[in-house]
Symmetry: C2
Subunit: 339 residues, 2 copies
DNA sequence: TTGAAAGCGCTAACAA
DNA sequence: TTGTTAGCGCTTTCAA
């Protein structure tokens, strides 16, 4: 391992000069600079990041703790979000410290350790919860972070979020315009703030058309295809079958479609199914899925960019960005079948 | 920010004693130890990780660079792999430094920076390539890593891989036993080593049954649902339509199914489709997908565990683990339709 | 234009 | 059982 002193010895200069030459300071003579750079190159020098970090009191690292509700999670949504965050971070010269923790005490301890330990400069907090202990901790400690999703602490923090209320309202309008009256929905966990926005959007949108969902037709899923399949099956077995089912994410919508097709129903004709997220798979499912497109990749990139901006400013303002999602009508929805 | 000297001053001891008490050394009197621990707790002390790392010359961090062939990637496979790696790393007390880089020079520079800069203790290298510059670099530098996938440098390195040859052979046997003769396949990029294992497995398996695939029916996809859809469409438009299409991953198989269904074909009857990976979605697709189950989550966990073991041993042996995949027959395959 | 020296926060060899 | 001291590899202030 080549250190700065090794170079210094070789070129007969002090380590100070070497450091300055390598860091592009102006007060080094051109010849010395060139000599040092060449020698460093020749010796295969790479700065020791840890030592640099200790000195600079900056880690150039962003923390991202994935909440693992079940140990395994298999959701294209996450890889897309991660790509958005990761690519932007790379572009801005930041690294990403990623870990997985089940929500709860372990998770909190890890946040404490990383924030207090100077291991990361800031966090990206995803899947915000109604009363989010992670956010409270970070707000209390005045530790920089940007959330993907809203929370109870919005005035004191920055977030990027999609307008789930609007998104589901678009779904409601779409379904009601197709003549659907018996509509069911499969929500996500109530702990997530986005669940409330989406549910309210759906109910508000339907109310505008003079429609409502009976409480028994609001089922809570867990965002997996499996739960969409199971809850979809349950809804489809009812004597009074809904003519449309609005799932709160695409994965659950796929599950609902399978459940319907298994019963010989033609999705888009006998029953309408909608999703939320707009993952690429929805374009090539059978039938292609009517959904609300949420630019996940972009959200990841924006969240990361917002955080880095805050880290590099000395008096960061709280920023709140609400992205407008758009309705994508494909073939999984159609006119309500009479009856 | 509370430092060790702050505690030392408060309890009137030297920083050494504080450090030792906090790190559980035996040579501290019980009273002193308790006093120190209590004071640390009270003052809200958390060790500065960076300083610890600099001193210990160990980062307790594993590097994982996701190769982003396209900036966005939306694949449940990755989130599952990441969960496996991440959970195991957390369990073993390691952090994960994740970044995304398009394959090529940037990627190599990043590997160089992280390895030489003492930023990570080792790497997990995924999606191994036929002539893998990343692996060559790490082998040359004698930097610890474990690969998920085989490479040209296997004797000098450790890997975990699935037996793709066996997996596709099982598919071949399954299809031939169903009477399929006109079989096509959609492969992945030839740069990946697993592509060759899978392709050879398929061809060998078919050869055993006296079958072969004509070169024109071996198309190369890019592992996305979109490419499965497009190449599937192409195959299905041929006058001599294949009766079975074997895709090299589940996502492409879903695309093929859509293409078939769009043409009014019943998947599992008019045409058989198979995948590879065994992502959870395949269980709830319509029809459920016949595929080869590769325990991705477990592979992630094993890879991580193997790396940590190597990091903690002073004379790590090269380990090679080849996992046996298993065939999962669902409804996307059926007897070859005559004609 | 250069170098000496202090110090980032911590650990550990050594001495007392 | 405790403290002194010397680093880990680097950046940066200050003086020359």
């Amino acid at each position: 391992m080549v250190r700065i002193v090794d170079i210094a010895k070789r070129v007969n200069r002090s380590i100070t000069t070497v450091s300055r030459a390598l860091n592009g300071y102006e007060d080094v003579s051109p010849e010395t600079r060139q000599l040092i750079i060449d020698t460093a190159e020749e010796m295969g020098y790479t700065p020791n990041s840890i030592a640099q970090l200790l000195q600079r009191k900056q880690t150039m690292t962003i923390g991202l703790v994935l909440p693992t509700f079940s140990p395994r999670f298999s959701d294209p949504y996450f890889s897309e979000l991660l790509a958005g965050i990761g690519n932007k971070a790379a572009e801005l010269g930041y690294d990403l410290l990623v870990s997985t923790r089940p929500p709860g005490e372990e998770e909190m301890d890890y946040y404490k350790k990383l924030s207090a330990g100077g291991r990361v400069d800031g966090f990206i907090v995803i899947r915000t919860r109604t009363n989010d202990a992670r956010i409270r901790l970070l707000v209390d400690r005045k530790f920089p972070f940007v959330a993907f999703g809203r929370s109870a602490y919005d005035p004191e923090s920055s977030f990027v979020d999609e307008d789930g209320h609007l998104g589901m309202q678009l779904i409601a309008e779409h379904l009601s315009s197709l003549g659907h009256k018996r509509i069911a929905c499969i929500t996500s966990n109530r702990d997530f703030t986005f669940t409330h926005h989406r549910l309210n959007g759906l109910l508000d949108g339907l109310a505008k058309a003079g429609l409502e969902i009976e409480p028994g037709s609001i089922l809570e899923g867990d965002l997996t295809q499996k739960s969409g399949y199971e809850l979809g099956s349950e809804l489809l077995e009812r004597k009074q079958r809904p003519t449309a089912i609005a799932a709160f994410n695409d994965l659950m919508a796929f599950g609902v479609m399978s459940a319907a097709q298994e019963r010989g129903l033609s999705v888009g004709k006998d029953i309408s199914v909608t999703g939320f997220d707009g993952i690429p798979m929805g374009e090539y499912s059978h039938p292609p899925l009517t959904t609300v497109s949420q630019p996940i990749y972009k959200i990841g990139a924006m969240t990361c960019e917002m955080l880095v901006k805050a880290l590099q400013s000395d008096s960061p303002a709280k920023e709140h960005i609400l992205l407008q999602p758009s309705l994508i009508v494909r073939q999984s929805t159609g006119a309500a079948s009479p009856g």
